[in-house]
């Protein structure tokens, strides 16, 4: 039985070492920097989307530091990799807040990762900036949502397709990957379409599993459905499945002029892996497009290209910007302004100072953080895919739209307050 003892010895030893190591860690926190956490997956399935958000956040930190930092202190990024693993997101969030003592965290992409870290931020009173369009139905005091809520992306897009200019679609295919964002968006859209007099028989809702790659049947079904009248497809297909879907569309000869597809998760970065010539005319709805012409955007694109080159990022030869990157960029700059206004990095003071912050965004508008609901006011742009993988903006809202995190098209939401309702964490 001698062998077994060794194990336990090792076990005890490592535990003791761990205990010794962890107790001494907090002693070094007194330096002249402000730590900020970056919580984006750098490996696993979400790395494809999230890596650039890490890079753009680091670029913003570099820029802020070069201009003298915040409150006279330099920002010190703490980058961790939650590896597309949802429990690990929660663990890393806790680590960033309690061990590294960061003032703020920029991170998350998927809804489930946000849901995973949310209780941690609420428990520890941390601050999270979430830069991706999402399904709404959530409002936390500890989170600022710099991406679009459904009424800032989905509904304007559908309104456009209903208009004469957008093709006056009468029938709708709501196609998505089977998870919460598509389900919620489609639920909201269905209610919205009902309110516009579209009947259920003219709406076809379809879902595919994650990573689905065979869209033959679906495209054939869309074709069949579209024979019954002017049809548009609203796609909430997630990341990787988009390429096979678009390739199948092109190959089966379904052109944008017959059945336009508007997507909410397809941007410049997603089109990088696609031969876009057959896709010309399909649409995307975002709050920012790389092809926008304004001085802020031109400067930002140039800065990003230079940064990508300097840091030897992959794809530096063809640097692209997209909507979540813009949202991340706005987020960190607004946080900086709020800290300077509050003269403190204290979570509650920064939250108070965030209300009404404005920032000149690359999308050409002056982006404003709502006084109450923790979401940005955003303009909505509809772009058509061009042959070079960029978008041609064909429509835009008159001005920025206020976010409705609680969609009025979901029953019961009319009673919800348009601000975090001061729910406290139960600790007693």
């Amino acid at each position: 039985m001698l062998k077994r003892r060794g194990v336990l010895k090792v076990l005890a030893l490592s535990a003791a070492l761990a205990a010794a190591g962890l107790t001494s860690q907090t002693a070094f926190a007194q330096t002249k920097t402000i730590k900020v956490g970056v919580l984006h997956s750098l490996s696993g399935t979400m790395a494809i989307s999230e890596t650039v958000l890490k890079d753009v956040t680091l670029m913003a930190i570099d820029e802020i530091n070069a201009k003298g930092g915040v409150l006279g202190m330099q920002l010190e990024p703490v980058v961790v990799d939650p590896a597309s693993n949802w429990p690990l997101f929660a663990e890393k969030a806790r680590q960033l807040i309690t061990q590294d003592k960061v003032a703020v965290v920029f991170g998350c992409w998927t809804s489930v990762s946000r849901k995973s870290v949310l209780p941690v931020f609420e428990e520890l009173n941390g601050l999270l900036f979430y830069p991706v369009q999402y399904e709404g139905e959530e409002l936390s005091k500890n989170v600022f949502y710099t991406g679009a809520a459904p009424n800032q992306q989905a509904i304007p897009a559908v309104e456009y397709l209903m208009s004469k200019e957008g093709g006056a679609a009468k029938r709708w295919v709501l196609l998505g990957t089977d998870y919460v964002y598509p389900r919620t968006t489609n639920k909201i859209l269905r209610a919205f379409l009902h309110s516009k007099g579209v009947k259920d028989s003219d709406i076809d809702e379809k879902y595919t599993p994650f990573g689905h790659s065979d869209y033959q049947t679906i495209v054939a079904d869309i074709k069949k459905f579209s024979a019954g009248g002017k049809t548009a497809v609203v796609s909430t297909i997630n990341g990787d499945s988009n390429v096979p879907f678009y390739k199948e569309l092109g190959n089966q000869g379904l052109k944008a002029t017959d059945v336009p597809v508007v997507a909410f998760s397809v941007g410049e970065e997603e089109l990088r892996g696609v031969d876009t010539k057959p896709l010309v005319g399909h649409l995307a709805a975002w709050n920012y497009f790389m092809s926008q012409k304004n001085p802020v955007n031109d400067a930002w694109k140039k800065q990003w290209a230079a940064y990508a080159k300097a840091k030897k990022l992959p794809n530096a030869d063809k640097p692209l910007t997209n909507d979540p990157m813009e949202a991340a960029w706005i987020g960190i700059h607004m946080w900086k302004q709020a800290v300077e206004k509050a003269k403190s990095t204290d979570t509650d003071k920064v939250i108070a100072a965030m209300a009404g912050q404005t920032f000149k965004a690359p999308s050409g508008i002056t982006s404003k953080m709502d006084e109450k609901n923790h979401h940005l006011h955003k303009s909505v742009f509809i772009g058509e895919v061009k042959a070079d993988g960029q978008f041609n903006i064909v429509w835009q809202t008159k001005g920025p739209i206020k976010a409705q995190p609680w969609s009025p098209f979901i029953p019961g939401n009319d009673k919800k307050k348009d601000e975090p309702d001061g729910k406290t964490i139960i600790t007693k």
């Binding site: 039985m1 076990l11 001494s24 490996s43 949802w86 429990p87």
Partner: protein
């Protein structure tokens, strides 16, 4: 035949030291040393240790079937997740009206416009009922699956592949909202157990200590099992099943027993895991997660229960370390471990330690 001792004196001493550390040292440094003190142990480490202890329990369960009975399961994540979901139902009910919608039903049901609970949520507000489900559901599934598989003498790689198919199918099913388990988002935002808030250092300490207690219990139970006659028959099945059958043993029931037991242990570990990490979602059932469980066992040392537990600790410790310090190299490192262990250390780290001790 002497009944083999569970552990030697040193083994007991180490186990005792571990228990003392978790049950005495940690609570003191975590709860009673003030936060400002540099000797304070942060709750972060408590939850991290609690999580790793749950993984260690799963590794021990895996080792029982793989190390001792030679059955490589690539679907143990499923049993773990089922236990987690079963107990998660209770945790969801305990949120009460504190969810985003401030309604008594879980948020995702409110959102789906469900007016009443689906049938499988029956009695889910009872702690004991859900605790029982966390044991019975994985056990029952394992029993039924194992019964048919072992009866048809599906073994070796075939068995591994169909367990993988099983967990993959379950993952796809749980992704569906219609299943009534919250779809891709799964269960989150837990607040209480037995009406006591979770987000307190005390509760986290209790959960961590419970995990440690379970790990010790499972180690003892497993040890007792594998040193008994039953354990020797299992090892014989692993090494030459046909000969054991020719000796007149009905190998199927031996395998079925240890397989079901292993699933039950995983289920309990899952139930303890969920309140500590704060989320359960279908990705726990992804085939990759289940393969990772096998690597914990291989790293620690197949055929040694304590080794399996150690392996879970080492790999997850390395994961936490690498994903913080060298995110790009984590997969290189993990992959290299897989290869190195199988090529050079078939007995795992423990085998290496023993080799040094001998020489």
């Amino acid at each position: 035949m002497t009944s083999a001792r569970l552990y030697g004196p040193k083994g007991w001493a180490l186990l005792g030291a571990f228990a003392a550390f978790v049950f005495v040292v940690m609570p003191i440094f975590n709860l009673y040393v003030p936060q400002e003190s540099s000797f304070h142990m942060s709750t972060y480490w408590v939850t991290l240790l609690g999580k790793i202890l749950c993984y260690a329990i799963v590794a021990v369960a895996m080792d029982l079937v793989w190390g001792y009975a030679g059955i490589l399961s690539l679907g143990h994540g499923l049993f773990f997740a089922l236990g987690g979901y079963a107990f998660g139902m209770y945790l969801m009910r305990q949120i009460g009206s504190d969810g985003q919608y401030r309604q008594p039903m879980p948020d995702f049901m409110v959102f789906l416009d469900w007016k009443e609970f689906p049938w499988h949520w029956w009695n889910s507000d009872s702690f004991w009922w859900c605790a029982m489900l966390a044991v019975v559901v994985p056990g029952l599934l394992a029993y039924v699956f194992g019964y048919f598989a072992f009866r048809s003498r599906v073994k070796g790689v075939y068995f591994s592949i169909i367990t993988q198919a099983l967990t993959f199918a379950a993952m796809l099913a749980f992704f569906r909202n219609a299943m009534g388990f919250g779809g891709n988002n799964g269960f989150t935002d837990f607040r209480r157990i037995l009406d006591i808030p979770i987000a307190t250092p005390q509760m986290r300490m209790i959960l961590c200590a419970t995990s440690a207690l379970l790990l010790i219990g499972v180690l003892l139970l497993g040890r007792w099992l594998v040193t008994s006659k039953f354990g020797r028959v299992l090892a014989a099945i692993r090494d030459a099943e046909a000969r054991v059958m020719f000796c007149g043993y009905d190998t199927m029931y031996y395998k079925l027993f240890v397989w079901t037991l292993s699933a039950v242990i995983c289920g309990i570990a899952g139930a303890l895991y969920v309140p500590q990490v704060g989320i359960i979602n279908p990705s726990e059932m992804s085939p990759a997660n289940s393969i990772e469980i096998a690597i914990w066992v291989a790293v620690g040392g197949r055929g040694s229960l304590a080794g399996a537990a150690l392996g879970a600790g080492l790999v997850n410790g390395a994961k936490s370390f690498f994903t913080q310090n060298y995110p790009e190299y984590w997969l290189f490192f993990l992959g290299a471990i897989f290869i190195a262990i199988t090529l050079f250390l078939p007995q795992g780290v423990l085998g290496l330690v023993n080799r040094f001790r001998k020489s």
